[in-house]
């Protein structure tokens, strides 16, 4: 009814509305072209500590401003859904696809590693958790391996280039569906999706189990707040006053299903189980986020299938005890009592180290996320006057943070929790831009505010997302250097990179153990000590020795993040060259490959 009223009051004449919507689609296309032009002409050699944001030209920012202004106007003019969808997809392409438009090599080391795991599974090996934790959750990689073989692809690294854009498009579609299922009005839902795309700087949308896992998380929530939703016609307070906890249980039992068709309820339940069964062997963390979300919905009396959370716990437990038994040995699921302190240290303090530019990026990320939350609080506080229902979104925004004190997740738990809560934070934040009733049309001031807030958040999003571009975007010379290293490496040789990230391990993942000087030399402070550790590893490796790869990106990472003491890498390389067992076997503009081989020393002596 609200939707119909809103449409009637806002919509221009049908022919005019269609013409305006077509113009918005044209604006979206022009902005994509401008964004692509801007990204592809950016001077990547000048990327410094603050990342891509500093080198993107005016044409790129014109696209960003154009999209935000067009979206705000399109919302006010009540443009067709397909026009709003076109603008949203354009925003995703311009922001999330900027790196792919700048250079046709996937960004980040992990995409390459994931391609290597897919490559290993393609050889027909059984998933073996003793290799590393990736093989305890091989589901998504097994699927990708089958896709690659069936499609006749030579590996999946090519899919990694545009995977982030496609992933965020699917996420955005699911997020909008959730908002509508939660009862958001048309404009509230679209603005929420827009803010979700802008707030998504956390960079988990690459070719990864987390990308798929977050999609499942959204799909399960969609089914939970859609066909599996419940409601109670009676208020809670009288029950609580009368009988306390017993009254609470009685109130909870009063739930009725929202979906009248029992076939669809059953279908939603079965589909939820299929989604969860696909998620559990693919990603270790997301099932727990799903459990917390389902419990939050159930606790509010809004779930017709509250035991679904228990089913997820049972299924995940079975996987931990069977498929992932290797991981459990030495990796407690829940950390000790110092959890909160560890979490704060690993998630926040450790990220504020490095060069001045890197610190700026780290602070922008924290401020950006904090600002989103503050605006969400403002939106939530305005929801009463706007007669918006926000109980479930508030619960779903807070629930993921219960994961933070339980695990540091390699120092990333706070970021992951922020990602899981982001859709609901965006929805609450979008409430600011919903006009209070009876006014249905967004005022001019609100439109201007939306365009300005959107543009500012876009700049913050590009800064936060591409803050590591100096070292997580790779050049063709670096790729050539890594290829040379694999070509020169004897069978079973240890591969050592100067630091993360390095575009390696996308092939021969099992054949070559790999480490970095960054990890190897963590306990020492001088170049000589680091070299002795490296030499020790070469002798441990035996006849094949080791291959040391130094790339532009790894040197930048060391410099900007302060991963090694100043001068240590140069000192180590000098010692490698001076050692009878060491040689420099390859060098080009952006990379060098060194061999450290005990056999070479024996031959020399």
């Amino acid at each position: 009814m609200t939707h119909l009223l809103e449409r009637k009051q806002q919509a221009p004449a049908p022919s005019r509305r269609a013409a305006e919507s077509a113009i918005f689609v044209m604006v979206a296309a022009i902005c994509i072209a401008l964004g692509a032009w801007g990204s592809s002409t950016a001077d990547l050699s000048a990327v410094g500590g603050v990342g891509l944001v500093a080198v993107l030209p005016g044409t790129y920012w014109a696209a960003i401003i154009g999209l935000n202004v067009a979206f705000a106007v399109a919302i006010r003019r009540h443009a067709h859904g397909w026009a709003l969808a076109a603008l949203t997809v354009a925003l995703i392409i311009v922001i999330v696809g900027a790196a792919a438009m700048a250079v046709d090599i996937p960004r980040g080391e992990v995409t390459f590693r994931h391609a290597g795991i897919v490559d290993a599974l393609s050889s027909g090996m059984r998933p073996d958790g003793s290799i590393d934790a990736y093989f305890d959750w091989p589901g998504y990689f097994s699927w990708l391996s089958t896709v690659a073989k069936a499609a006749g692809l030579n590996g999946v690294i090519g899919l990694g280039l545009w995977a982030p854009v496609l992933t965020v498009v699917v996420w955005a579609a699911l997020v909008r569906n959730i908002f509508v299922a939660l009862g958001a009005t048309r404009n509230w839902a679209w603005v929420g999706v827009w803010l979700f795309v802008l707030g998504n700087w956390i960079d988990q949308d690459y070719l990864s189990p987390q990308g798929f896992g977050f999609g499942v998380y959204l799909a399960v929530i969609l089914l939970a707040v859609g066909p599996l939703a419940a409601w109670t016609s009676v208020p809670l307070l009288p029950y609580l006053r009368e009988s306390g906890v017993v009254g609470l249980i009685d109130w909870w039992r009063e739930r009725q299903p929202l979906e009248p068709d029992s076939r669809r309820r059953t279908g939603a339940l079965v589909l939820s189980v299929v989604l969860i069964a696909g998620l559990i062997p693919s990603h270790q963390l997301t099932p727990f986020a799903v459990v917390l979300a389902l419990l939050a919905i159930a606790a509010l009396g809004r779930s017709w299938a509250p035991w679904l959370a228990l089913l997820v716990i049972a299924m995940a437990s079975i996987w931990f005890l069977t498929g992932a038994e290797n991981f459990l040995d030495g990796h407690p699921l829940i950390q000790n009592s110092a959890g909160l302190q560890n979490a704060a240290s690993a998630n926040l303090v450790d990220r504020l180290e490095g060069s001045q530019g890197h610190e700026v990026v780290a602070r922008v990320r924290i401020l950006f996320t904090g600002a989103m939350w503050m605006l969400a609080v403002v939106g939530a506080s305005m929801s009463g006057r706007r007669k918006l229902k926000i109980t479930v979104p508030v619960a779903l925004a807070f629930a993921p943070f219960l994961l933070v004190p339980m695990q540091t997740y390699g120092g990333e738990m706070l970021l992951r929790a922020a990602l899981f809560s982001l859709p609901f934070v965006a929805l609450l934040m979008a409430a600011i831009f919903v006009p209070p009733p009876p006014q249905q049309r967004m005022g001019l001031i609100t439109v201007a505010l939306l365009a300005v807030v959107g543009t500012v958040l876009s700049v913050a999003s590009v800064t936060a997302r591409y803050g590591n571009s100096a070292f997580d975007m790779f050049t063709q010379s670096e790729m050539d250097g890594v290829s040379a290293a694999y070509r020169l490496a004897p069978d079973r040789a240890l591969l050592v990179s100067a630091a993360h990230p390095t575009p390696w391990q996308d092939t021969e993942y099992i054949e070559h153990p790999a480490t970095t000087l960054q990890d190897l030399c963590k306990p020492v402070t001088t170049a000589d000590e680091c070299f002795q550790l490296l030499r020790g590893r070469a002798w441990e490796a035996g006849e094949p020795g080791l291959v040391l790869i130094v790339t532009r990106s790894s040197e930048k990472a060391i410099q900007l993040q302060g991963l090694l003491p100043q001068g240590m890498l140069d000192g180590v390389l000098e010692r490698v060259m001076a050692d009878p067992a060491g040689t420099r076997a390859f060098v080009n503009h952006d990379s060098a490959v060194y061999l450290l081989n005990p056999v070479a020393e024996e031959n020399a002596s």
């Binding site: 091989p138 097994s142 896709v147 068709d261 069964a277």
Partner: protein
């Protein structure tokens, strides 16, 4: 042709369009995997890549979403893609642990599942229309 076979009151209306969609899903489930027979290099290679990507990313999930009558709510694209991957993960993971490394059986299993789900919905629509 309307995509949605479900009326605004939430009740299913078995329609010609619903039966057409089910038939299309069944045909895609059979035809797209046949592109595996195309060569890995040459002019037909991109066609094979496209067909298999459409199959793996859309068809099983679309069959699943329709079979369980969750289409018509405006959710189909997102839900179908994620469901397709989830179904693929279940089949390929089971095969990775118990199989032989041959990648053909998981594709055939997914195609058969999609056909079965499509037929299920088609049969239900025909049954409900027939007095």
């Amino acid at each position: 042709m309307t995509w949605s076979p479900i009326r605004a009151d939430g009740l299913d209306t078995p329609s010609a369009s619903s039966r057409t969609i089910s038939t299309t899903v069944i045909c895609l489930s059979v035809l797209l995997p046949l592109s595996m027979t195309l060569p890995e290099s040459g002019m037909l290679s991109p066609v094979r890549v496209l067909c298999m990507l459409v199959f793996f990313f859309a068809v099983p999930g679309l069959a699943l979403v329709r079979a369980f009558r969750l289409d018509g709510l405006g959710w189909t694209p997102g839900l179908a893609i994620v469901s397709s991957i989830a179904m693929g993960v279940i089949v390929t993971t089971a095969w990775a642990y118990f199989g032989t490394g041959n990648w053909l059986p998981p594709v055939v299993a997914l195609a058969l599942c999609s056909v079965a789900l499509g037929l299920w919905r088609l049969a239900a629509d025909v049954r409900e229309v027939t007095p």
